[in-house]
């Protein structure tokens, strides 16, 4: 049966133009060796236009996503199934496992805000964290990540949380307080005692290695 469908597909691709052929080839193959389309060519186009990935990378990321829970994620995404992987699975990826901000990253990029991710969220996350993403985009999401209470400002409590995650209690309470004050003093341009996205972006402009540090290789 599968043989037949494969033949069919082959014929269709033979008949249609070269582009179509190319598409079925690069739609990727399932692991077992029998050819099967995961995405339609339109879907891949859309992904390619909306993320910083090539088709190949999108397929690779799909497999990474699927490997987290092979029983949950179908191999056929042409009808856009509504699958969400729970945060526990996302957070256990080796790229995120030891990152102190992993939960925040997952929360910021997930649609439900709880860290449970659809494939779209997953792609979006790694697209922003890729090396191709521009500084503004990265800064926007970095701001979101450090804004723990989601109030669109980085206030003192957010900063304290950030520091605790950064150093894991290496600083004394006094030092944490001092760092918070100083950071807000330095970066707060409109003197409202907290950092808005504007302040944050302005500060990031002067950080020479932000682009290289806010980057996850996958």
């Amino acid at each position: 049966m599968s043989h037949c469908s494969l033949l069919c597909q082959f014929f269709i691709s033979e008949i249609s133009a070269g582009i179509r052929l190319q598409c079925t080839v690069c739609h990727g193959t399932a692991r077992m060796g029998n050819k099967q389309t995961i995405f339609t060519s339109q879907q891949l186009d859309a992904y390619q236009d909306c993320t910083y990935f090539t088709r190949k990378e999108i397929l690779r990321l799909f497999h990474r996503y699927r490997d987290l829970a092979p029983q949950l994620v179908p191999l056929d995404y042409t009808n856009e199934p509504d699958v969400r992987l729970p945060y526990e699975l996302i957070g256990s990826m080796p790229e995120l496992k030891d990152n102190p901000f992993r939960q925040r990253i997952a929360e910021v990029f997930s649609e439900d805000g709880q860290g449970n991710m659809t494939l779209d969220d997953f792609l979006d996350m790694f697209s922003v964290m890729s090396e191709m993403a521009p500084r503004d985009l990265k800064a926007y999401y970095a701001f979101k990540i450090y804004d723990f209470n989601n109030d669109d400002f980085i206030c003192k409590s957010d900063l304290e949380k950030t520091l605790n995650k950064l150093t894991r209690n290496e600083l004394t309470e006094d030092e944490v307080r001092m760092v918070c004050e100083k950071v807000i003093d330095e970066a707060d341009l409109d003197n409202d005692g907290r950092l808005s996205l504007e302040d944050f972006q302005h500060m990031i402009l002067r950080a020479p290695d932000f682009l290289s540090t806010f980057h996850i290789r996958i």
Binding site: Y47, C50, L166, M178, E186, L197, M203, D209
Partner: protein
Amino acid sequence: MAGRVSFGSDLHTDVESPADEDGVHDSFCQLIEEQCYGRHDDGMEMTPLDPDLEDESRDDVVYLDGPARHWSESLSDAPQQTDNLIGERWSSDTLKVLSSMPSRTIGRSRGAIISQYYNRTMQLRRRRQSRPSIQHFPHSARPSIRGYGVETDGAGFQEEENKRERLVNNLQNLSVSDRVRMLRAMPLSLAEKKELRMLVLNKGEHSLSENQIPCCSQLKYYIINAVRHGWYSWLSLVSSLQLWQTALKCVSGRFGTGVLSYFVFLRTLLFFNIFLFLFTALFLAVPQAVLPPAQDTHTNNTSRRSSWGLEVLTGAGYFSDSVLYYGYYSNQTLQSGRRCSQSSNGTSCDAAFSYNMPLVYFFTIGAAFFITCIILVYSMSKSFGRSFRIDKSKGLLAIKVFSSWDYKVSKKSSVRLQRANIGTQLKELVAEVNRQELKSPLLQRVFRIFIHMLAWIMCLGSTLASVLGVYYFSEYMHKDLTSRVRSSSSDSLLKEASLLAVPVLVSSINLLLPGFFNAVAWMEEYDSPSVLNYVSISRNLLLKVSVLGVLCFHWLGRVAMDPQILGLQCWESFVGQELYRFLLMDFIFMLLDTFFGEFLWRLFSQKALKRKRKPVFDIARNVLELIYGQTLAWLGVLFSPLLPVVQIIKLLFLFYMKKVSLMMNCQVSGKPWRASQMTTIFITLLCFPSFLGAAVCVTYTMWTMKPSAGCGPFRGLKTMFQAGKLWVRDLALANPSLWWLESAHTYLVENPLFLFLSAAVFLIVIYFHSQVLDGQRKIIELLQEQIENEGEDKKFLIMRLQDIHERRRVRSPRRGQRDNEGSSFS
């Protein structure tokens, strides 16, 4: 004006000059106006004004024409009102304006993002207006981003839809590659982006062929992608290839940037020496070793062999007739028809390969020094640029907090290391901030100054004493050697051992005096560790420079002036040996110091004194020891071209030894401090007294000293410098078309005027650069002040707005009531 209104995204692109300040006010007024319009009708400009609005604008006019009394009132009120900006008594309009300040809206809601990008697409389209727009688009529909942050009800949703529609329109009118770029850079979720994209594509269905990115731009995209990929992987490869990277990270994680700077400096020195070694080995040692000179056999070659161990220490005996020293090199043109491929230095290789040794010797040393100088100056300027940033203190801590975590790191141990690293650096920064606030009373300060003066006098005195000691002792040893030569006593072992006396003395001074300095500094009680380090560095530097000065005088003034007294055939080799001995002794004393001073002291203080404390790593002394050693190596290159090898071995050993000792024996300095300018200072010290001194000595030797007649590549010449001159003259004689070379040589190299001129130009360039930097710093200060002032202006204008409303409320209670209802509703 549109660009100015949206402060948000464009603040950094178009910095306004102070003269534009009116414009800002205008834009602010416009913002307010826009808000007023926006309430009724989303910024459409061509709509009839309703009576309410007319009333408001009339109010404005009245107010502006009003008596000056109002002004002064509002001005005097302003300061106390600004304190409670977010009071409850604000009218709804003021609140609206407040909530629509750029700092409060950008990125707040999806609608705001969409409209922000709408504006960007508009800008992009305007910039590329040469493209014919497919669809007519009304320019008057300039939306305000601001209003949407606060609106969440149905109307807001409606407007968001509108906005989206316009964005889609705009996107559609962009070229395909621009559209894709814009779409990718939007901070929206992927689902929304896909939806937007679908909308755009559906709208533009009639031009489906455009759907696909044109082949050429796609190709361009791939090429850019590939190049970038390659560049990043190259960068990561380079950084992973860096020597001792993990070791350095370990050190900086545990001990902070101060100690790290020592190890980084050590690595820099290692690279300098490797470079020097490659240079001399490739051009001097290898050719000479391949084609050994026809030696007149030394009669006493075998008898001079005393003991292997002592020879390694003194560098004399067996070694004195090797490529290690100047004396071994021949003064002839090396010629070999057959072995030309082995000599491998790429000169002409026709019939007979010729290698003019004196010339090569001269130019190799000269070029090595020249290139080292350029590298030094370059790295110095680079590190100056890095440490003396224009905006030095601003935003360091914030940047550290928000951009120092490397998201790429995924190994557990690296994560721990990074965490420790960031923690230490934050501590250092905080300590630096804290220290600036400290102040002490006057009396205490006077006392302090007195103590400091006393300490300096003690340090200078001891330095002077040790310098005099070295001077007289070396004189004594010199005389001793002379008398020994005269009496020709046969006890060669003792003679060789006596050669070690001066190096041992100097090295022990180098070992003991810094300890004394430290004790003095302990008495002084500096509160800032960085000041302590700088003081300690300057004292050590003074000691080392003066000792080296005396030694240089000893070699060039005593030994070289009258080599016959010592029975020397080749004083250059003797000086080379001396330098070798000093370098080796320095190394041995460093080993001893590490063992006794750090290891045994730690054991002693922990076991015997039962103290928990370990010694603290003394950065200043260790760095100055490195600089001292390097100066010796540079001085010795002329006399012993392979001396850098010794230095390389020494540095390699030293790195591992110091690291192990640091990890085992030392504790973190009690007061953390940030070594922001340490590397700069080390490099500067390396450049200024160390390299410059060595270069001056070497040039002096080359220009004025008479080389020994019996050995070396320059035998028979008046000065080493003549080698180049003779060659140029020969060249000019051989082919007359090169006559200009000789005159160029006379005018450029021999005439000091050229040197002075180039130095002057160099200084002028440096001066201009520093002036430009200074100007930039001033401009930045001005701009920062301007930002603050603009904040004040905004506050003031909000006050005014509030004032209008309050007065209106008082005047017409009916409308005021309505306003109140409105505000409570919203």
